[in-house]
């Protein structure tokens, strides 16, 4: 599978946020999107997740199952908000998303107990999500990535509110996902601790040249 973006640009209101961004990602590759605040990282990720329509350019998947209309159907999106209900327990939240999302073709999600172990919090799945600390909530939101299989992970500042240990744990999760032939696109300020990554540096509107490619 290969994710191709060609000449993407997006507007917020009247302002062009970024212009002419192109990249191609094969299975097992990660793209790290960096750049100062307001340079359009989150907007780019929302375009990739199909939540915003691009002003120009397009996004396509090569060698994808034919019934897939948009790459977003094969993607996990972890935004700034965790998409978990405070009133429900962690286990209820995770099992809802597991059943609601289902697995994409070509893989299966892991069991709920394994997922909470994988994020290092096996003992608190029975608590209401609202009782957890910000870091614990973020980790549980990551467990959501594991319970339903999606080949593409789109992560918007995934390690915000995480301690150093959780950072490493998360890097391991991402590595394992890439090792199984996944694709990861992450916007971040901190290094994710990955070896084989490509980097897209967004400069913001003033520089207007759009994204620059660096092979790390």
């Amino acid at each position: 599978m290969r994710l191709l973006a060609e000449g993407l640009s997006a507007k917020r209101g009247e302002d062009l946020i970024f212009n002419d961004i192109s990249f191609a990602l094969d299975t097992g590759e990660a793209l790290v999107v960096t750049g100062p605040n307001g340079s359009g990282k989150s907007t780019l990720l929302r375009v990739l997740a199909g939540l915003l329509s691009p002003e120009s350019g397009h996004l396509k998947l090569e060698n994808a199952p034919p019934e897939i209309a948009h790459p977003s159907e094969l993607s996990h999106y972890l935004g700034h908000r965790n998409a978990m209900k405070r009133e429900l327990t962690v286990a209820e939240n995770l099992s809802f998303w597991q059943r609601f999302m289902g697995d994409s073709p070509g893989g299966v999600g892991i069991a709920l107990t394994e997922a909470v172990e994988a994020v290092g919090l096996p003992d608190i799945a029975h608590l209401p999500f609202g009782y957890l600390s910000a870091g614990q909530q973020r980790r549980m939101a990551m467990a959501k990535l594991l319970v339903a299989h999606r080949p593409i992970w789109i992560l918007d500042e995934p390690t915000a509110a995480l301690d150093a240990g959780a950072d490493r744990l998360f890097a391991d999760l991402v590595k394992a996902h890439l090792g199984k032939g996944g694709i990861v696109i992450a916007a971040t300020h901190q290094p994710l601790g990955l070896d084989q990554t490509r980097e897209l540096h967004m400069k913001g509107f003033e520089h207007f040249a759009g994204g620059l490619w660096h092979d790390a």
Binding site: L52, Y77, R81, E87, L88, S95, F96, W97, F100
Partner: protein, 219 residues
């Protein structure tokens, strides 16, 4: 989809869910009417069906604005928009769960409130039946309003105002079916059938319109 239905039901009965708010409001509105109108039993039994219907209509508008806003606030709406499952079905199931949590209790509470209004057994039965058939329509219409106002921080009143004109036919045919049941010359079935038709119509149109509005509201 079944998972979504039960999650929404669970959320509505947990703290802050607001399943009971509608029923309590319904009871409050209907319970104060006899005090305001005075102890004229004939008058009460004559206006009873209309009062029950108005109370139920207003009560089902309460809490509608949170239908999609709560999902948007915590980011769940983004994930729902991304799935392969058509958004239409997601909206339909959310409406069904919302009705089961807020509309159904109104139907169940209506016989008790019918007694407050000195209504006959037939009038109580007919009111219950028309509420059962008619209140889902209000939820489906309301879903459109809720989807349009999803990104407005205080959309509650706006949703009610948007939705009310469309809900008026439901009220008219609901109440006229009840009066047809208790007053002899008027036939009972035609207004009931029209009420059922309105519900079926909005069960199709509502989710389509709400899904379209949600797609365009995402930013």
């Amino acid at each position: 989809m079944i998972a979504l239905f039960f999650r929404d039901l669970k959320l509505s009965i947990r703290a802050g869910g607001g399943a009971m708010i509608g029923v309590l409001f319904f009871m409050t509105v209907v319970a104060v009417i006899p005090f305001g109108v005075g102890p004229d039993l004939n008058l009460l039994s004559r206006i009873g069906p209309a009062i029950l219907w108005i109370g139920a209509l207003l009560a089902s508008l309460l809490g509608l604005d949170r239908l999609f806003q709560a999902e948007r606030d915590d980011g769940s709406l983004d994930l729902m928009l991304m799935q392969e499952t058509p958004l239409l079905f997601t909206v339909f199931v959310k409406c069904a769960a919302h009705w089961a949590a807020t509309g159904l209790p109104l139907v169940i509470a209506s016989p008790l409130l019918g007694l407050f209004m000195n209504m006959s057994e037939i009038a109580i039965g007919a009111t219950m039946l028309t509420l059962l058939i008619g209140t889902p329509a209000i939820t489906f219409i309301g879903a459109v309003g809720a989807a349009v106002a999803v990104s407005l921080p205080r959309g509650g009143l706006l949703v009610s105002i948007l939705v009310l004109p469309l809900a008026i036919p439901v009220l008219i045919f609901g109440v006229s079916a009840v009066y047809a049941a208790i007053e002899d010359p008027a036939p009972f079935l035609p207004p009931l059938m029209i009420l059922a038709a309105i519900t079926l119509f909005f069960a199709v149109i509502g989710p389509v319109a709400a899904a379209a509005a949600l797609r365009h509201a995402s930013d």
